[in-house]
């Protein structure tokens, strides 16, 4: 049985539950997991129940990296580190917005831990509000499409690049839609000494508005259209990419989700789609995806 036990309260088709399960599949029992506030935390630990088969701590929204660094310091100080892996698993808001400072501090200090961002591109736990992980033109409850708006007007923050600037020995992007790839990367990140980072693309059926049975399908479309490039970085250099055969146009990804629906119905939406296609094209060129 998975170390993330069944019976939790995640939505059917939940990307966070998949991510949590894959992370624990990669790590096994000898780990300590730190979660910031978010869906994963809430649906796995309604007191007195817990889905976690490994030691787990949730403190606050913005401090998971600091808490993880304290766990690491404690184990080191007490001579109990052995092979225990210390992992923080946070959402895009907890990672790229409110928790960014604590992450920067922990990476700069060089703690031996792995931070995993499970990026479902909005504040899903509070009801689909925009975060700095929200892609351009996605409609969220705080960046809604409207008569004079195409949704979120800003580009997604490039979080792996920020981590790379800290000199992390290992950074990878992954997707819940490519489980063996994600598990391999999490395993590798955990085994490498020092602060490592895995940024996982995680399609949220509730927030992105697609059927719960389509999580993997939508996740694959993000990769196949080159909107979510899968790559690895070692010591801030890109060392590996997942090549795309028969790249698909971004429309296929966008039209599978309700959050981009307005781009296909509003006048001027085609321009938006073009802009998104340009982002995909840039990814192809920049990472050499073809």
């Amino acid at each position: 049985m998975s170390l993330l036990k069944p019976g939790h309260r995640g939505c059917a088709g939940c990307c966070d539950a998949l991510a949590g399960k894959f992370v624990l599949d990669a790590l096994g029992e000898d780990c300590i997991v730190v979660s910031p506030t978010g869906c994963l935390e809430v649906f796995t630990t309604p007191y007195p129940e817990s889905a976690w088969g490994v030691p787990w701590i949730h403190s606050l929204f913005e401090n998971a990296a600091a808490v993880a660094s304290g766990v690491e310091a404690a184990l080191k100080a007490m001579g109990k580190m052995n092979n225990t892996k210390i992992i923080a698993i946070g959402g895009d808001g907890a990672t790229m917005d409110i928790g960014l400072q604590a992450i920067s501090g922990a990476f700069e200090r060089g703690h031996d831990f792995t931070y995993i961002c499970v990026d479902n591109e909005a504040y899903m736990n509070t009801g689909i509000q925009r975060s700095s992980g929200t892609p351009m033109y996605a409609s969220t409850t705080t960046s809604p499409a409207g008569k004079v708006s195409f949704g979120n007007p800003l580009n997604k923050k490039n979080m792996p690049a920020i981590i790379a600037a800290h000199g992390s020995p290992y950074i990878a992007t992954a997707s819940v839609a490519y489980a063996p790839d994600m598990i391999r990367k999490v395993k590798k990140a955990a085994q490498i000494k020092g602060p490592t980072y895995v940024h996982v693309h995680a399609p949220c059926c509730t927030g992105w508005k697609f059927e719960g049975s389509k999580t993997i399908e939508v996740g694959r479309l993000a990769v196949e259209t080159a909107l979510w490039p899968l790559y690895e970085m070692e010591n801030s250099e890109v060392t590996g990419v997942r090549k795309i055969k028969n790249r698909k146009p971004v429309e296929e990804y966008l039209k599978a989700q309700g959050r981009f629906k307005h781009l296909f119905t509003m006048e001027g939406g085609a321009e938006g789609i073009k802009k998104i296609q340009a982002t995909a094209d840039w990814n192809v060129k920049h990472f050499g995806l073809e």
Partner: protein
């Protein structure tokens, strides 16, 4: 005893006390006037005198957050901060207490901005009174240092498990050089048992910390924190006596009296102003005045029963507050002393004075002025609460 004394800075005495308590993890961010404590600890670590992880973090918020993780992993933990730094920790203070992590932290009391001011008052720790931390206030440098092992012993008690603040007045105590006895390692090893908590983050015995509680379970978490504070009321007294037996020094447990028996006017205060009040009382006693002191050492837990007992013969009570609840025109000690008497037989008029904000000096003359104002109660003139040291030219 006297020959063991050395003249050191207050911050050094505290840092040394922390060292002999053997914390596993120290995490702190520099802020005036706390800096000397963490610098001294960093030097101890650099000289190999401490077997601990010393973390230079990027903010006070991460300082306390790192200790939450470290404490949950079973480490004895320490931090120190003040003022803005403590305010920045606010959210995590509730969290540390709610998760029952016995972190010990020295708060070097300082005023809050705006206007920015680096000098002493107690607004910072008073503003954190509802976060579920034990708060003791020290009168002098020796007490500030001695409080450290006492607080570890209290906080780590398995029937308490609450974090604790040792509050010492900024500059007045942190930067003063005075003769102290540095805590002996051997005595501290005997006094303070190793920390071996029952519940820790351990892959061999996985547990979940910080689960979310819905309305059907949340209340009981708060109730149990309150109950633990009740246990702390007893333990603070006991541990002060245990400390006295071991080291030969005693500052009171929850409270301490000075010339209190039969005193008609009782002054209540916390922190370094106690020394000035004692001097004032000595002076006035010679003049035949009936003035005594009730030092409040423990503000959380608040020793309501003990205060009522101590005040039962008083004719009038004066409270000194280096803080203000703006909009209430009162300091916290004043409010709480009044509140603890209302439903009981003790009916003593309480006159609140707010003073010493932002480091304004509290000389004997100010204390005498307050005492004289308090005497007006006999003539039917009653002051509810007021600033004691306003500059008329600026007010």
């Amino acid at each position: 005893m006297r020959n063991r004394m050395v003249v050191v800075e207050g911050s050094y005495a505290v840092a040394h006390a922390v060292k002999v308590c053997k914390p596993n993890v120290i995490s702190a961010y520099p802020i005036t006037p706390q800096t000397h404590i963490v610098e001294d600890l960093a030097q101890f670590a650099a000289d190999g005198e401490m077997n601990c992880e010393y973390m230079n973090v990027e903010s006070e918020f991460s300082a306390i957050s790192a200790l939450i993780g470290a404490s949950a992993a079973g480490a004895r933990t320490y931090s120190s901060t003040t003022s803005q730094g403590l305010a920045l920790m606010h959210e995590a203070l509730f969290n540390a207490s709610g998760m029952r992590l016995p972190i010990v932290m020295t708060v070097v009391n300082r005023a809050l901005s705006a206007p920015i001011n680096i000098w002493n008052d107690q607004q910072d720790s008073i503003s954190q009174r509802d976060t579920g931390w034990i708060q003791l206030y020290a009168e002098d440098v020796q007490e500030s240092a001695d409080m450290t092992p006492q607080l570890y012993k209290i906080a780590e008690d398995e029937d308490i498990l609450l974090p604790a603040m040792a509050c010492m007045d900024g500059f007045i105590l942190s930067h003063v050089y005075e003769p102290v006895i540095l805590l002996e390692q051997s005595l501290t090893d005997e006094f303070l048992p190793d920390y071996s908590p029952e519940f820790v983050l351990d892959p061999k015995n996985p547990m979940s910390f910080g689960a979310f509680a819905d309305p059907s379970t949340y209340t009981e978490f708060r109730y149990k924190q309150e109950k633990a504070m009740g246990v702390a009321l007893k333990r603070i007294e006991e541990v002060a006596l245990e400390f006295s037996e071991k080291y030969g020094r005693y500052y009171g447990g929850l409270l301490d009296g000075y010339m209190l028996d039969d005193a008609e006017i009782v002054i209540m205060a916390m922190g370094s102003v106690i020394g000035t009040i004692k001097d004032t009382i000595d002076m006035l006693q010679k003049e035949g005045e009936s003035v005594g002191l009730l030092k409040v050492r423990s503000f959380r837990p608040f020793p309501a029963d003990e205060i009522r007992k101590a005040l039962k013969n008083a004719k009038v009570v004066i409270t000194l507050d280096k803080n203000i609840s703006i909009g209430k025109n009162e300091g916290a000690l004043c409010t709480e002393v009044k509140a603890c008497m209302y439903n009981r037989d003790v009916r003593v008029p309480v006159i609140g004075f707010m003073l010493g904000h932002g480091g304004r000096d509290i000389p004997v003359s100010t204390i005498v002025k307050m005492i004289n104002k308090a005497k007006l109660v006999e003539k039917g003139i009653f002051i509810e609460s007021e600033f004691a040291d306003l500059r008329e030219d600026l007010a």
